[in-house]
Structure formats: structure tokens, C-alpha cells
Symmetry: C2
Subunit: 310 residues, 2 copies
Amino acid sequence: MLEQIPTKADLIAAHQRILPYVHQTPVFTSSWFDAEAGKNCFFKSEHLQKTGAFKARGAMNAVLVNAEEGKLKGFLTHSSGNHGAALAWAAAQIGAKAYIVMPDNAPKTKIAAVQQYGGIITFCEATLVARETTAAQVQEATGAVFIHPYDNYDIIAGQATATMELLDVRPDLELLFIPVGGGGLLSGAALANHYFGKAKVIGCEPLNASDAYQSFQAGVRIPVQNPDTIADGLRTSLGERNFNIIQQYVHEIITATEDEMKAAWKFTVSRLKQLVEPSAAAGLAVALKHGDQRCGILLCGGNMDLDPFA
Amino acid sequence: MLEQIPTKADLIAAHQRILPYVHQTPVFTSSWFDAEAGKNCFFKSEHLQKTGAFKARGAMNAVLVNAEEGKLKGFLTHSSGNHGAALAWAAAQIGAKAYIVMPDNAPKTKIAAVQQYGGIITFCEATLVARETTAAQVQEATGAVFIHPYDNYDIIAGQATATMELLDVRPDLELLFIPVGGGGLLSGAALANHYFGKAKVIGCEPLNASDAYQSFQAGVRIPVQNPDTIADGLRTSLGERNFNIIQQYVHEIITATEDEMKAAWKFTVSRLKQLVEPSAAAGLAVALKHGDQRCGILLCGGNMDLDPFA
């Protein structure tokens, strides 16, 4: 279990550790997208990752690092989103139990995903206090290993492997566009670029949930209050370990409006024919309005409600 | 220009002819899809084809076969859908003009696609008579080579190449699920399977546009009247050449309800994270309710209106 900022060797070890379980997702390009966007874009396809999001990487790494204790007592987290499903999936890979605390208003599709991977759900009220209290109760009852969704160095090292793979394919990238919510993906990407790349790392955040932008400017963490954005994966506030890394290794944080994200989502999905979730649109929207260089864009996941269409 | 049912050699020649221009699209699999569907499915990804649909294959073949005359006088078709865009794209590949007659109520996205590829649009009223009259007028004025969307042997040979490639990757397929509208794709697939495969070929049609099913049962073509289905690419009635081939080489035609297609679309898009158009859902819906074997499913295209989401 990592107790400090992951080193280059830690990232390589995490990648080797999870490779038997996760996909090395493809890197897409689109001449049609590039022609209209006026730049060369390389899309890292974590919507095609196990569980439909990059979260499988960090969860798998944390589960393997804590496998001995976890097999005995299980794993635990609180999550309304992709991390809960990813932890349930990762625990199942080594035959361990996963206890997932979820708010009782969580979307049905998210609940179904956790159940599908065999996660044991405890519902609670939809407040952070209720989540943490309930998680503490489950931990006391089970002794399960708690895996924070992002404020955890093993999670960060796991998420970093997506950017490692992208840089392995395209070491010449000049800009990296990475969505930021709790900061697990962004802090991992920034470390991966620090050790393996030479790009400018740009955190991409909804204007309506811009705590990372504000914190980055102020130099102290400023949590977001009840953010209203379509990017449901980016409503979380930055974690402490994540902010520390982001301050050192991220070059800039740029926000996108809801309209910019909707337009970028539509533009991208219609051209790539890939289903990416609204959170991915933050990176796309910023990439579309910024620069004319070789851009790496992390498509963080593909889990979204399709009911409006069907 | 082919004047009779394409032979095995004709299909091979068509494939060689178009290969420098079109994508050999990937064949997807999904263990999650298979586990829930209870069969092994191989998805031929024509939504990733040039112009976002298999139509690029037939159009490119017809354009190359008629290149000499077409370069002088241009190409012509009437289409409210993917064939118009595909012909405009294909003509542009050899520097030829494309005249596309479109109904004045055609979706904006379809109009934009034709314009994007440099097609010269003539609008007409939204009736078959108006389309044919207008096309005849444009042909008289320009002398352009008319390329029918499906009732044309060079088109059929071109569309057959999608199934040829699928069978080249998976020669052991037992069932092939192919959407049917005008019958260009289905007649081509049936020929490809006749020459290169050993599968049972199943035409998949919306119940609300089931002229192929009815014609197949009756042994004579029975055109459909004003079909009401989400599968906008399958509203057309079978062509004469297409029906002739389908009668000989297709094993069965099975219909799907609108609800079955909507559920199949949602099931597939959420699991594969691939954007396929509603017409592809006909094949998916029939495949999901039929058999437990090695299934080839032709994802015919990925062009659809994303406005409900953005």
C-alpha cells in the first residue's frame, strides 16, 4: 500500500499488476474529427475498459495491493458512480467480497451494475455525512478494507496507467486533456506525463463544478457545493492527495460550459461513433477550443443513461 | 457494369476495386453481451465505415465501374438517407460531380452530410413520383450516370463485401443477421454467404415495414405503404433484383417490433459502447430472440440524430 506520491517504479509496478485483468484500450483517431477541429487528436478509449470506465484500473490495483486482507474481510467503498461498480468487479476477480454504500437515490443503472458484479449494497441517505457514517458502520461490522474512490495513492497509480499506455503509443503528444472531478484520473495522468511524457497537462472541468479550477488558482482546496452539471462523474470535490499532485504536475485547469460540453459530446459521438459519457465531454470541449497541436484526449468512460433514445 | 446476378468472381473483383477507398471495418465481440444474450456474437462494424454506413461500399463500387462516363458527366441518385451521402463521397474520391435529389423534408443532418462531401442537391416534394420526375429532369440536363440506391447489381456486389470480410474473419458462422429495407445489403450478404460461407441467412425487418417478410412468403413483391418505424433506413420497399436474389439465397425473414428494436438498441449500445443507428437494431432484436449459436450481426451504420441527448 503506497504511503507517498507514486514513483516511476510504482507506476510501472501498478501497470504490470493490473495488466492480466484490464484492457489495454485502443487509441482512436478520426480524420473527419481532425479536419473540422483543426488539430491532431488521439483518443484513449477508456469507455471500452472493463466496467465501462477507467475506474477499473485503480480499483484493480488497490484490490491486488490489499488482496490478502481483502480476501479475508472484503473491500468497502461509498460511491454513487463508476467506482462502486469497479470495486465490485475488481474484488470479484480475486474472489473477494465488496461492500458498496450507495445513496438511496442512485440511478438504477448504477445499482444494477454493482449488483451485476456481485457487490453487496448498503443504501443510505444521499448526504456525504450519511455515506461516511454508513461506511464506518459497515467497516466496523465486517473489518473490510476501505478503498477511497480517488484520495488513495494505489488508486492514483492505477488510474495513471491509462495515460502511460497513451504515451507509450504517442510519446510525442504536446497537450493532454484530462477530465477532473475528485482528481484520481488527473493526478495519475500528471504523474504519468511527468515520468513518461513531455506534454502540457490540462485539467478539464465543468464551469458549474469548478472547484479544481478555483483551488488551483487559490493554492488551497475549495470544495464545490451542489454542482449542477451533466458531467455526473465530475461533481466531486478534489481529494487532498490528488490536489497535492495536481499543484505540482498539472500545467493548467480550463473550464467548459454546459453548452460547450453538450456540443462537444454531440460532435464527437457523431464523428467517432463511440458512446462516451457526459463526463468525457469536459475534456473534449476544452480540447476543441484550445490549441492546434497533437492532443491526447482521455475518454474516461461510456456509462450513461440511454433512456432518452429508447 | 453488371447485367446479371454477381458471380463469386464479381464479388472478389468488387472487393479489390473498393479496398483502396473503404475501411475493412473491425469485427467486435463482447463477453458481457454474450453472457447475457446466451450466444456468441460477432459484430461487423459498418458504423465505422466511411460515411458512417455500409452504403459507401456499394456507391464506391458503382462509381468506379462507371468512372469514365461519371468523370465527364457526374453521377446522380435520389435518396433521403445514407446512399445520397455515400454517392457524393464516392464521386468525390475520383473527382466527379454528384447530383443528389432529396425530398425537401429530409433531416438537416442528412442534407449536411451530402453537402459536406460536395454533393449538388436538388430538392423536390417528398413523394416517390416527385423524386423520380426530378431525377429524370436532372439526368436530362446533365447526362449524369444514375445509380439506384439498391436495385443495381454493382451496388449489390459492393454491399456484399461487408459480409465477405466478416466471413473471412469468422468462416464458421452459423447464423447471419442482416437488416433489410430495399434489400441491397441483404441480397449482397446472401450472395457472399452462398459463395464464401455456410451460415443460415436471416433477413431482419421491422414489423411495421414488413414488405420483405410478406413478399418472401407470397413469392411476389408487395410494396410497403407509409411504414412507421424508428428504423429509418428500412422504410424502403424491396427492389426487383434484390428480391430475386433474396428468394434464392436467404433462408428466412424475421420481423421485430418497435419495442424489441428499442430494447435491443439500448442493450447493445450500453454494452458495446458503439453508436449504431436504429436500423441496426432490427438485426440485433432478431438475433437476441433467435437461436444460441455463432451469430454474425451486421451493424449497418451509425448515423442518427443525437439531439435528444444534447
